[in-house]
């Protein structure tokens, strides 16, 4: 009886170990989903983005063929084309009142920050990787892609072309 019990225990141990190993393997090959490390509270909401883009408007070249400067538009609400803003699409709607742009609404704005990512593990040995994180110390200057928004101009331009 004791022998049978011991044999059973040994068999169970083996099975348990086998199952454990298999699980270990499964865990090892599973890609690690990593949240994008930008806190959602800091991410600009679509309404804030509107303000940002409008505030960068004076940076636009005066000679860009945007029909904004060409004078009066017909009153109404016009929806622009979907323009690729690279990390997502931008689509705006222009509301014309008294021949002028009264409001620009963002119908589509990139908002994929919550999605999971997978860290590329095939990096070159000399290169290192990290998830980006905000560093908040005071700076003298900021380096980034040049200010102005072609996607915004494109979508707005297409909305306004319908108002002529």
């Amino acid at each position: 009886m004791k022998k049978i019990f011991l044999s059973a225990l040994t068999i169970i141990s083996f099975i348990a170990y086998g199952v454990y190993q298999r699980n270990q393997k499964e865990i090892a090959v599973q890609p690690l989903p990593q949240p994008v490390p930008i806190s959602p509270t800091d991410a600009p909401s679509p309404t804030e983005s509107v303000a940002q883009h409008i505030s960068t408007a004076p940076v636009m070249p005066t000679n860009t063929p945007v029909p904004v400067s060409k004078g009066k538009y017909k009153d109404g609400t016009y929806t622009g084309s979907v323009a690729d803003a690279f990390y997502g699409n931008i689509q705006v709607q222009a509301v014309i009142k008294n021949g002028k742009i009264a409001t620009v609404n963002f119908l589509q704005y990139p908002n994929d920050r919550g999605r999971s990512i997978e860290i590329n593990r095939q990096a070159m040995p000399l290169l290192s990787q990290e998830a980006i994180q905000a560093q908040s110390a005071q700076v003298d200057i900021v380096s980034g892609a040049t200010d102005s928004s072609r996607a915004f101009i494109e979508s707005l331009g297409s909305a306004l072309s319908q108002a002529i």
């Binding site: 990593q34 994008v36 490390p37 930008i38 800091d42 991410a43 600009p44 940002q52 004076p58 940076v59 636009m60 070249p61 000679n63 860009t64 323009a83 690729d84 803003a85 690279f86 990390y87 931008i90 920050r113 999605r115 990512i117 997978e118 860290i119 590329n120 990096a123 070159m124 000399l126 290169l127 290192s128 990787q129 990290e130 998830a131 980006i132 994180q133 905000a134 560093q135 908040s136 110390a137 005071q138 700076v139 003298d140 200057i141 900021v142 380096s143 980034g144 892609a145 040049t146 200010d147 102005s148 928004s149 072609r150 996607a151 915004f152 494109e154």
Partner: protein, 252 residues
């Protein structure tokens, strides 16, 4: 003293800390930048480059600066295996090389005047000289491509140039010369630190066009470091990059 003007479709900021600086120094630099725009801007119909593009100017009549820019562009095309190109749809577009070059010229003009502590920033491409107002290396933030109010890295830079290429604000304005129709979607921002802003800027755009391999290209360049951010918010950086990162001792 600090002054910002909108030129070349972007804000250009010049800050000079030396006590000997005068308003005249600023005027000279900004007027120089305007002449650069008058010569090299494809947006201006009367610019030299527009006349070249429209076949109105034979090569023997090109200005010396134009010849310089074309030879620098040619050199860069070779060094990047064709990823740098000034020819877009049959027209020359020199914006990928003129900006960095002009900033460096301006920086050299200021040095010749005996000015030592300053920076020139044209739309995020930066040349620094000397120290900041605290007598420390200039601190340059790398902007978060997903949230422009935030910096994802702070660099501590002495006498170097920093340039960032990206598609996140202007939309898709950089393309792969080998696949003009293909959009670069896997990376969103590439910052290059180089011996000066001209060197950093001329490699930032083609390295960006290489997509994820661009950072490997920067790794292989002697005297350059890079920080690339992909569309998932993961950064890849070169082996010597950390030595330029500002260490915030107050927090850590």
């Amino acid at each position: 003293m600090k002054q910002t003007e909108l030129l070349w479709d972007m804000p250009i900021t010049l800050e000079i800390l030396d006590a000997s600086v005068s308003k005249k120094d600023f005027d000279e630099i900004f007027s120089y930048f305007r002449t650069i725009d008058d010569t090299f801007s494809s947006y201006k119909k009367t610019s030299e480059i527009s006349r070249i593009n429209h076949g109105d100017l034979v090569r023997s009549n090109w200005s010396r600066d134009m010849e310089t820019i074309f030879s620098l562009a040619e050199k860069t095309t070779k060094e990047t295996n064709g990823y740098f190109s000034i020819l877009h749809n049959g027209m020359y577009d020199l914006s990928g090389i003129v900006k960095g070059w002009a900033i460096l010229q301006a920086s050299d003009m200021l040095k010749k005047k005996g000015l030592k502590n300053f920076y020139v920033d044209a739309g995020g491409d930066i040349q620094v000289s000397g120290k900041n107002s605290d007598g420390k290396p200039w601190r340059i933030g790398i902007r978060n491509p997903f949230n422009r109010q935030e910096n994802v890295k702070i660099l501590s830079i002495v006498d170097h140039g920093v340039a960032t290429s990206g598609t996140y604000i202007r939309g898709q304005h950089i393309y792969d010369p080998f696949h003009p129709k293909k959009q670069i979607t896997d990376i969103v921002s590439l910052t290059v630190i180089g011996p000066d802003v001209f060197e950093a800027d001329r490699f930032a755009t083609p390295a960006f066009a290489m997509g994820k391999k661009g950072i490997q290209f920067i790794e292989k360049l002697e005297g350059f470091e890079g920080y690339m951010i992909d569309s998932g918010g993961v950064a890849t950086y070169t082996s010597g990059f950390q030595s330029y990162v500002y260490k915030d001792t107050a927090i850590n």
